[in-house]
Amino acid sequence: MNIASIMNALTYASIIALLSLGVTLTYMTTRVFNFAHPRFSLVAAYVTATVLAFIAFKNPEPLVKAGEVTIYNPFPAWFYAVGIVVSMVAGAAVALLEYYAIIRPLLRRGAGYLALMIATLGFDFMLVAALFIYSTHSWLNTVLRSAFGAGVAGSRLTLAGYDVMWMYPGTMIRMVAIEAIIATIAVAVFFYIMLTRTKIGVMMRASIENPSLALVLGINVDRVYAFSWLLAGASAGLAGYLILFATDVVGKYITATSPSDQIIVSVFAGSIVGGINSVFGGLGGGFLIGIVEQMLVPWMENTFGIEGLMKYARMFSMLAVVITLLFIPQGLASITETRVWKKLVSTLKRGGGRV
């Protein structure tokens, strides 16, 4: 396995991890399994591409030779920084829209989990409709084409060719891969510090553990929920930025439906396998699922000589979910908390877990 494919696998795993984190976060706080979550990243990708098209300019000499290494540098660093900020803001905005327009009113009416799940599905359909209209609109196509050339269109969006690349002889390192890994680590550190060291983090933990008690103690639970949706949306937006610049890792092009329809099940798999009641479980579980799909399966293909196993890669993450739910329903995060072997033996004795 060469460096480029390892980098691609890490990028993919980071995208899944960032999305799983958001699914876990909104489930922990508001008990909503959000079907629209992966779509947030597509919305963010479209908004980012539009904004970037306006600030993009033709760099006279994107190719720089420095000894053995050729550096392809189409845009300056602030261009990508703007992209990251815009994508996070866009993701957070869509998430807040969903929370305030749909989830909060339904929660106040005391809707059950099924109604909430279906409502997120309905919101997802409306996002798809909006994306269908926006992505094929002639205005967007004119804007994108004038900035990025004829190869980029709204219905087959990708900016993978406009990333900074370091081309060593024999291998190529893309900036988006480094960004993905840094983003995942940064998000993990951010959540660790926020949940343990800040007031809002403590408020969030209190609202998760006992909403009524938190309310009695004067915590604005509603605002805490909104904040968690904002964080979930921002992380999905970050994933959208990564998808925009590493589209080839996740799928072929960005359209109104892909790649979110393809990765949604892996995302849910990540948050279930990691443990739906732990933020770090979501992040780690998503990363694990991504690594299994993109690294373990090719490794198995090579080592055991099973041809065409890679096509079934996503099936392995589904099987991971089935096994997790039947034997350790609280996810991998629960294992670290109790003694691993004792737990495993007792679950096997009982013949499966119960939720």
Partner: protein
């Protein structure tokens, strides 16, 4: 702009009938028994695979016996699917009505059996998990099966990603489209009557009792696990039946049965969910009504006449792409309806109706319990007056 009214009517009727069957299957599981089945598509897919794979094998065996000059043997169904089915569709089915009808019946029976068998398998986790966990498990299970089927040649033929060609089992009829439509509608009516009878039967009441108060049902000595399993099997069998209808009807299935189309999460899981929520959970009448509303409004202007419809709305003048605009309208309609119903009328258009049970004398007669003879109206009035005093 010319409209082929007959073809359009047949198409809409087939669509409505198909969705009535799919959604009633889901309604028995999710609406009546409270199993959040987000993997409904996999049971539906069983029916499609039965028609494309198993029934095509039987058809090839018939053809090998009766028309050996065609040179089609059961092996060819998977080895060179496209050519073999094309030969059968042109030269065998149109001239063998009796065999075709037998094959249709075989298809329905096998689809019900396969759907039910998969439902039985899926009920194993269904008995252990609750709520969102079960929903996600079934969703991922269906997705895993989809990926498995998409790339596996013994399920999906020589080109698994393209899928299996559709055997034209209605080719013997003078008007295959009409015959298929009538057949689909008749099956849908049958399923509807079955579902209504189930709703009113003791078994249907038990399903709803388990959904509403599991502990109470258990305290009354009911085997909750068995009830959930039964609901899963019945609902999945009906979904399998729907899959077979989809694959048999030329208006619905198109020319090939691909894993991508029969396992389609959107069409066979999420849309049935949307229609069930719209119509009212555990309400068969509501489901039928919702399917009719969506079927007519979706197919008539949006899907079939999308170009004309988009022009009517001035889509091109606004810089919109016509076919994508029509796609967007489909999603917008369904999404907006779901959310509107959840906000305005969470119990659905026609809420769940109380079950209509038989009169007491009838049950007493069945059970052999001595019952008082049916009193006349005068006697009843007298009794009531006495009771009032």
């Amino acid at each position: 702009m010319s409209i082929d009214v007959v073809a359009l009517t047949e198409q809409i009727l087939s669509f409505i009938a198909l969705y009535v069957v799919v959604t009633i299957g889901l309604n028995i599981k999710a609406g009546a028994t409270g199993i959040p089945d987000f993997g409904h598509a996999m049971f539906f897919a069983m029916g499609g695979i039965v028609v494309g794979n198993l029934v095509a094998h039987v058809a090839a065996a018939f053809a090998a016996m009766q028309a050996p000059e065609l040179g089609i043997t059961p092996v060819d169904v998977l080895a060179r699917n496209t050519e073999a089915i094309a030969v059968l569709n042109k030269q065998y089915f149109p001239y063998h009505p009796v065999e075709s009808i037998i094959l249709i019946i075989v298809a329905l029976v096998l689809a019900v059996l396969m759907g039910g068998a998969l439902g039985l398998l899926a009920s194993y986790p269904g008995l252990r998990l609750r709520g969102e966990y079960l929903a996600i498990l079934l969703l991922t299970g269906a997705e895993a099966l989809r990926i498995f089927a998409t790339y596996t040649t013994w399920i999906m033929g020589d080109e698994p990603t393209v899928g299996l060609s559709r055997p034209a089992l209605f080719a013997w009829a003078p008007d295959p489209g009409l015959a298929a439509t009538v057949f689909t509608v008749l099956v849908a009516i049958g399923v509807y009557v079955f579902a209504q009878r189930l709703h009113n039967s003791p078994a249907g009441r038990l399903f709803r009792a388990v959904r509403d108060e599991e502990d109470a049902a258990r305290a009354l000595g009911k085997d909750v696990a068995a009830v959930r399993r039964d609901a899963m099997v019945i609902g999945s069998a009906i979904a399998g039946l729907a899959g077979a209808l989809y694959a048999l009807n030329p208006w619905l299935g198109g020319s090939a049965i691909a894993a991508e189309s029969v396992f389609n999460r959107l069409y066979w899981t999420f849309w049935p969910w949307a229609m069930m929520i719209l119509g009212g959970m555990a309400s068969n009448r509501g489901v039928a009504l919702a399917v009719m509303i969506i079927g007519v409004s979706l197919l008539w202007p949006i899907r079939i006449y999308k170009d004309q419809f988009a022009r009517l709305l001035g889509a091109e003048a606004l810089g919109l792409d016509v076919s994508n605009f029509a796609n967007a309208l489909e999603y917008l309609l369904v999404g907006a309806l779901i959310i509107a119903v959840l906000f305005v009328r969470p119990q659905g258009v026609i809420p769940e109706e109380p079950s209509r049970t038989l009169p007491f004398e009838y049950i007493a007669m069945e059970k052999g319990v001595p019952a008082t003879p049916r009193e006349t109206l005068a006697e009843k009035l007298q009794r009531l007056i006495r009771w009032k005093k």
